[in-house]
Symmetry: none
Subunit: 197 residues, 4 copies
DNA sequence: CGATAATCGAGACGGTACGTCGAGTCTTTAG
DNA sequence: CTAAAGACTCGACGTACCGTCTCGATTATCG
């Protein structure tokens, strides 16, 4: 059952996993999801197609795995003792990470979500939820410290934070830069957090 | 130069345009963007593929045009004399419109935006801008009526409105329903509009 | 350089060659050259079109190869010790072979000869020359045996033999039967061979 | 019923027939039957396709008509009082006519004969029969003059004459020149005609 | 050690959709 | 009603990609 048991034949070369994910990411960032071909990924990694299909069931599988792998290593979680500082830190760091190839890769998947339930689940669990959870924890710590009143609409603020980031990333052509983060923070998130205080 | 000049040969049959767009929308809603084939659209409309390619350069072109055509006819613009009422009206109506096939179609295009500049331009001009403009005009009327203080961060509010709608539509699997609209309105948009008043 | 070298990837499946040639011959005999489609050949052989195009450059190429392959295995060369007997034998056997699908296939190619130099070369080398050579060798043996006088116009007789066969086969609707062979032999070929003896 | 009646509308422009046949012949001679497209013929004649289809039912129809029209005007029938002289004259003249575009056009049709009964009938009636009839009449005159013995195998000689011409024209790449005509005449036709005299 | 078995790169395989092009028909404006 | 122009449906073209399979060669474990 376990493909990683010592088994008889030649063992899988674990270094191919990384090479293939790397190749997939490169091709994805260069040409987008639709124009990504398995042949191109195989060629980029100097691998055979069978080597890919031995590890992933399909193009979609490969791309999902490649993205989530990367995302999960790159969500910052600052904890400085100040909600404002933590939020600013998180937004800046994550925004600049999203600006790179992973953001484009994630965007490439959006169109497939409605027709690929497994992809949708993976996308949400590995990409959306972690960011929300970080923001939520960050605000919760503020609540516990009394920085924020208990009546702040946390759920809505958390959702808006993600929405604002991804809207810029994927839909408009406006930059995800420091000025944007600052404006979002001072004109929307902080006022909502401190409403009534 | 003008392809619609009275010209010599047989003129384009305008009814084919509509039939093809209709067929494209049906196929799109049924199987999604990736699985949409030109053959399927042609068959659905009882047209030859050449007839499609005479009007649109590619599958993408066809889908863009089909969507924007529909969107532009369906953006509500309430004007009741109350910002709150207008916003609620707009959000409800547009959210329920986006829940239909056009929303899915728009989503299907997102992944192509970074690699198709023309598509990106069309998407923004025909899909994003109109919604933003409606919201902006609606708030501007409130400003002129004195309902809203002049220091309200209109740009940010407008952006967040679109972001919140499309985030739910395309990325999460949470519903774009009345409850969501109400929460967005009372917990975020209205407080931001009335901040400091 | 050599496509049959042991090489790296999966080798060409030689049995597909035969299956495709078989399918091509069947389709050709059934519907003729013009109506022969690559899709039909592929379907008949349960092959993908790419598998055909990997082996032959075009429909023409496939048909040429299919025909010459068959012709070269089916040119009889009798050697009984009598020119008359050998000629009768050859004409009967080859005429009845030409009456089958190969004859129709060869005919199908005639119209393309002036515009396809490679086809013309293949047609002549694989189809015309072998018949002429057989007849010539057959007559040469008669010359060496002294059955025929050395002044017989061999070139002309050889040419007329081929001409007579193919004229009936391809141009008139008269049968290539035993009576025709007998008439050609006794009224033309034998008198010319024995002229002056 | 009669399309040439004075009728109501604009009368058919008879000069278009000639222009279209001319165009068809040119295209045919240039690219062959298969590559001849109706659009090309129409363009060459600066005509609309409908104008072609108003006069001929199909591509085949057009080509048949174009060829037979030309052939029937160009079969020479010498009558000098000498079979040898007449045959030499006919063979020379007709061979040089066949060397032109009409020969190529006729060749283009050969591949279609087995699958197009109407074409086959037209081809034989308009192209093959007239040549045979000329040769037969020419020999008959010799018979009546006593130049030839009554036992000469006329049918066979007539058939061989056509076969020899068309074999060279369509199948081999050897020239249909004076030397060929002379050799055919002196080494085959005349000996057969005079056999036993 | 030799046999066995799963891996690797390479690329042929069946299949499906692509975007183009040709045949023959239809529909417009101009005469 | 005919002419030229050109849009129309239909279907084959030759190409590209998917996911599978098959080859020789390699690399491990097992007996």
């Amino acid at each position: 059952m376990d493909p990683n048991r010592p088994g008889r034949g030649r063992p899988r070369d674990a270094s191919r996993d990384a090479a293939l994910r790397q190749a997939a990411m490169e091709v994805l960032a260069e040409v987008g999801y639709r124009a990504l071909t398995m042949d191109a990924v195989a060629a980029q990694a100097r691998a055979g197609k069978a080597t890919i299909y031995r590890r992933w069931d399909s193009k979609l599988d490969l791309v999902i795995d490649t993205c989530t792998q990367l995302v999960q290593r790159n969500i910052p979680e600052p904890d400085s003792g100040s909600v404002e500082h933590d939020l600013r830190e998180f937004l800046s760091a994550f925004a600049s990470f999203l600006t790179g190839p992973v953001g484009k890769a994630a965007q490439a998947l959006v169109g497939e979500l409605p027709h690929e339930p497994e992809l949708a689940a993976a996308f949400r669990t590995s990409f959306l939820l972690p960011q929300r959870d970080v923001v939520r924890r960050l605000i919760d710590r503020g609540l516990r410290r009394g920085e924020i009143g208990p009546e702040a609409p946390v759920d809505t603020i958390v959702e808006l934070t993600g929405a604002a980031l991804l809207y810029r990333l994927m839909l408009t052509d406006e930059p995800l830069d420091a000025e944007f983060v600052e404006r979002l923070l001072t004109q929307a998130l902080l006022p909502l957090l401190h409403r009534g205080t």
